[in-house]
């Protein structure tokens, strides 16, 4: 559903990443990993159509795509640390935002959309919190709220930027379940992840960014110690430690 050919990403004409190519199919999870400042979030912004690539081509093959080649609908879940947790809004209002696209100035939310909002609240375990203000949410509940918003968006493509960075293990397990459900429904997912262990269980393919370039392939093929060093994700000392620990564990 998505083919990216040799794109360059960056600001003010200075590329962060060059020659980045990858593909995303329906029902696939692609993990995006890389060190801080390697261009992961810039890539997300580019796929969302907010920031044009410096070079290269992005082809969407969404059957319902708009003439420009942008998919009709992308769900996006940013890093919740960037948001105002004190914003005067109830949990269900934040979830309902997923249904706002395409609404007229005066149109309200119809029954189908209202049902979908209720379903999303129940699915994420927030039904009982629906009327509480956002500031009463813990970090994990806030993240579930954004997952619920993405469920409401009902988009063929879902982009998640570090969805597990602020939450505890049990919430993470519940959210991973939702991600697997999305994959089973045939949606294409790209997930920026910091924690390599999450990648191993979840990702079909992997895009490794760093050192001004990108490697793409099956997750198992891309995530090798040599590759991680080459893309500055690990330093050589860290890698030596890892190898040492692995040998210890094996013996």
């Amino acid at each position: 559903m998505l083919n990216v050919h040799q794109i360059a990403l960056g600001y003010n004409g200075t590329p962060l990443i060059e020659g980045c190519s990858f593909a995303l199919e329906q029902g696939q999870v692609c993990a995006v990993i890389g060190h801080n400042g390697s261009g992961k979030s810039t890539l997300m912004r580019t796929l969302l159509g907010i920031q044009p690539p410096l070079a290269g081509r992005i082809d969407w093959h969404d059957p319902a795509s708009a003439p420009k080649g942008q998919p009709r609908n992308i769900a996006y879940l940013g890093q919740s640390a960037d948001l105002d947790h004190q914003f005067p809004m109830r949990v269900k209002d934040a979830v309902a935002m997923g249904a706002w696209k395409g609404l007229g100035f005066w149109t309200g939310i119809d029954q189908a959309k209202a049902d979908r909002i209720d379903y999303a609240l129940t699915r994420t375990g927030l039904a009982e919190m629906a009327d509480l203000p956002l500031y009463a949410c813990s970090a994990g509940q806030l993240q579930r709220c954004f997952f619920a918003r993405a469920i409401v968006q009902d988009a063929p493509v879902i982009l998640l930027d570090e969805p597990f960075s602020t939450i505890d293990q049990s919430t993470e397990a519940k959210l991973v379940e939702i991600i697997r459900e999305w994959r089973a429904e045939g949606r294409g997912l790209m997930i920026v992840l910091h924690d390599l262990s999450a990648v191993m269980g979840l990702a079909d393919t992997c895009l490794l960014l760093g050192d001004g370039r990108a490697s793409f392939g099956q997750a198992d093929d891309v995530i090798t110690i040599d590759n991680l060093i080459a893309h500055h994700y690990l330093s050589e000392t860290q890698a030596e430690w890892l190898t040492l620990l692995q040998q210890k564990g094996a013996s």
Partner: protein
């Protein structure tokens, strides 16, 4: 008790500030949510030279003063972002430098030109001089502002709460922000006559920050902001009527400040009861 209402100029001031409150409150509510309170303050000073130059050349014409104010505001905004990007000083220092120069330039020109408006009422507002053209300006501003909010409320909420999410959903994401900045300048201009250049932002910010301590939905937040703004104007006007040496601007803003401190302490999310709040 109501003798102040018998005066024609007080009736005008009451109408002017009431309509102004209806217009300025929603703008202030979102200015606070968008974390632009200080930028709003800076913008209020940045537009002064534009207004003064327009006033000195064309006299008290609302259209030329708006045009002048908008031009000065845009120049300062562009200058700030250029200085911050191209030179070593950061955005806050660039903005502060430029708006201070702008404010000084405005007052300098106003004084040098020997203006008919006394400096004190220019800086701090006056209930006395509210003429028909000021009433028309305030009415037009309120109309444009309320129509905008009727059409743009959902995009504005989304763009304020989660900008990247909003940008991913919208075809013209910049429009909301640019139009909001236009509303900001327009409302500051409308507030000049009654509140003065130094106090105009006070009626925008303080009712909104006070209301934040009471509510947890956007609708109730905007309504409460409006109520605080209206009460501040009415009580402030009466104060400045009985203490005739006190200009209207500080009187109104001080009342708004009273609401702020009361809310800060005793509102449900204030310091005494606010158990829920975590940063």
């Amino acid at each position: 008790m109501l003798e102040w209402l018998e005066y024609d100029f007080m009736q005008r001031a009451l109408v002017a500030t009431s309509v102004l409150s209806v217009s300025i409150a929603p703008v202030g509510a979102f200015l606070v949510l968008r974390r632009l309170s200080l930028a709003g303050e800076a913008m209020a000073h940045a537009i002064v030279p534009g207004i003064v130059i327009a006033f000195v050349i064309f006299g008290l014409s609302a259209v030329s003063m708006i045009t002048g104010g908008l031009i000065a505001g845009i120049l300062v905004a562009l200058g700030t972002s250029m200085l911050a990007r191209r030179t070593l000083i950061r955005e806050d220092a660039s903005l502060a430098s430029l708006y201070l120069i702008a404010l000084a330039l405005g007052i300098f020109i106003l004084s040098a030109a020997g203006s008919a408006i006394p400096l004190k009422s220019f800086l701090f507002g006056s209930a006395l001089g509210i003429g028909d053209d000021t009433l028309v300006l305030i009415g037009a501003t309120a109309t444009i502002t309320l129509m905008t909010f009727a059409v743009m409320l959902r995009p504005l909420i989304a763009a304020t709460f989660d900008p990247i999410f909003y940008e991913s959903q919208s075809h013209r994401p910049g429009l909301v922000q640019q139009w909001f900045m236009f509303l900001l300048v327009l409302n500051l201009l409308a507030a000049f006559k009654s509140l003065g250049t130094l106090m105009a932002v006070g009626l925008m910010i303080l009712p909104a920050t006070a209301a934040r301590y009471w509510v947890s939905t956007i609708t109730s937040y905007m309504i409460l902001t409006l109520i605080f703004a209206l009460l501040s104007c009415w009580i402030g006007l009466i104060l400045s009527f009985y203490l005739s040496q006190v200009p209207t601007g500080p009187a109104i803003v001080l009342v708004a400040g009273g609401f702020f401190f009361f809310s800060l302490l005793f509102a449900p999310l204030g310091m005494v009861w606010g158990r829920f709040v975590q940063k």
